[in-house]
Symmetry: C2
Subunit: 333 residues, 2 copies
């Protein structure tokens, strides 16, 4: 058993997963996080959806996502967090958006995966609250979802059980540093500055009020007037997401973003008009040039685990596993 | 000088104004307020607008409002709070809404007040950022506006300077109680239960971001698709209001309310799409059957000062003056 020390910069889902795995393996671990309300793991929908997110050209992203998804049931069970297994409906409201669904289905089939086209009637049998403008859909089995904030709490608790120390500034002089600070990683090493960029996203949290139609059972992803929107059911409510801007570290929730999310989601699920709007938040994903994360040594003693873009939660198990392998190698160099 | 003690139930603009006037007059005063984020004074636009709000049948409301408005410059000066004197533009986007403006002008003229119809070109000269759908308008001189939260802070400071005590529960056994708890007053005396009701309103606070067109200089009131909306400029941003529901003490900000306010305000001032949405809030106005406040003795030793509906800020000076007169009489009975 190694007894080296590891400092993890970043207390989001990647940093905490890395810290948990490393501490469980015998490393002395400190997680350093100054705290931000704009971390990508906190401001997230919680979809674990490599399959519905699949897109031609991103086959490596799909393969990595599918590999990590397979690890999720055990990962969640170890943490004691619940996974939603109901799956995803991808829906469209006009012909052009319906063609996007056809492309997704064709692509999934080319990758050896199935997705079922649903008629208008089948869609409504699955989710009676869908709006009248929703006219085509695809049932995509396999995707999961998790309450991202429950997950973060469970990860912190698991870390604490294994002796991980938490600090807002580094207090230990450890041999190894893991940079897992999401979009902020770009400021922590010159090699990351060139490849990691913040990709802003806005999400809304809604709560179903008494008398209102409850949220859908499935995660619903939609194209509305070419804009993507997702509705993730969450304990009596919904998370709506997500806008996407390349505008640096601008933390504002914009009127235009909220307007689009509400408008598009209401087309998909009209009952939300009667829901309570409980939170509007903006966060930063860690974008990378090829949409794949950077998980590797940057120099002796300095590891990166960042660049997860829209897939930080999904890729946490596979990333933490890979970092642990690198740490074990690093310990013997 | 009287030295009687007065307990004021309610720390909103009415309760604080009453407390300030009474303490300044020599009464020993305690303000009791358990604290709520849904008070009508905190969740308010800050318009002091009896004239633009005038409506046939509500002549008494207009007269009282105009009387109080005349007291506002001195009231604000004593408190050291700034008043905006720029005035109000009432605008409309379609023919039916334009007819409402014609009715308002006719009514104001019948009351001996003037309002000027503006052409499309004149409107844009006054406020170049108005949306292309805004096609008629009325310039209404005389209305003021105030930052409602600055006002509350200034009132608390003025009260403190005059020895007013603040508590979340009553600590003094005073001879006189003033019920000034807004919509919650209905639960504080059986006579109020029949006449005071909560009228829920939602408002949004926006902040103009760098590069976006600044907010209008005027308060802009509009009818959009028959829904009223107002935009009150406020230190680099705007307050948008206000929805109106008769639904008891339901404190939720609803998706439908936010959607309507954003949609309607964006028609009036398209630049808000680039603004930051900094707050969504719901509050309760104290509705009364005739839209006039209840300012009178309910029984020996118990005074009411409530039922101000949409006009709590506007009517604070005249209400506090009237309560002080009643307290002085009460002290000699």
């Amino acid at each position: 058993m190694s007894t080296s020390g590891v400092t993890v910069l970043g207390g989001g889902v990647i940093g905490l997963s890395v810290a948990w795995f490393a501490a469980r393996d015998g490393f002395a671990v400190e997680v350093v996080d100054p705290g931000s309300p704009h971390g990508g793991s906190w401001v997230a929908g919680g979809m674990l959806a490599p399959i519905t997110e699949a897109w031609p050209g991103d086959e490596d992203v799909l393969a990595l996502g599918v590999e990590s998804l397979a690890r999720w049931p055990a990962f969640a069970a170890d943490l004691g967090v619940a996974l939603s297994l109901v799956g995803t409906l991808a829906v469209a409201t006009d012909v052009a958006d319906g063609e996007v669904l056809d492309q997704l289905r064709a692509h999934l089939e080319s990758q050896g995966r199935s997705a079922t086209r649903l008629t208008r009637r089948e869609l409504r049998a699955a989710e009676p609250g869908l709006g009248p403008s929703v006219r085509s859909g695809l049932s995509v089995p396999g995707d999961l979802s998790v309450d991202n904030r429950d997950l973060l709490r469970a990860l912190r608790a698991a870390c604490a059980r294994h002796g991980v120390r938490f600090a807002t500034e580094s207090t230990q002089d450890h041999e190894i540093t893991v940079i897992a600070a999401g979009a902020w990683s770009r400021d922590l090493h010159p090699l990351l500055r060139e490849v990691i960029r913040p990709v802003k996203g806005e999400i809304l949290r809604l709560s179903a009020r008494p008398g209102a139609l409850p949220p859908p059972r499935h995660t619903v992803r939609a194209q509305v007037s070419s804009r993507p929107v997702y509705l993730v059911p969450r304990a009596g409510g919904l998370v709506l997401g997500a806008t996407q801007y390349e505008a640096g570290f601008d933390p504002d929730v914009t009127v235009g973003g909220v307007r689009d999310l509400l408008r598009d989601a209401e087309v998909v699920w009209p009952a939300i008009a009667e829901y309570a709007l409980t939170e509007c938040a903006a966060g930063f994903r860690a974008g990378s040039p090829d949409n794949l994360p950077v998980v590797d040594w940057l120099e002796p003693g300095v590891l990166a685990a960042t660049g997860h873009h829209r897939n930080g939660l999904l890729l946490a198990p596979v990333t933490a596993r890979r970092v642990l392998d690198l740490l074990r190698e690093g310990g013997t160099r």
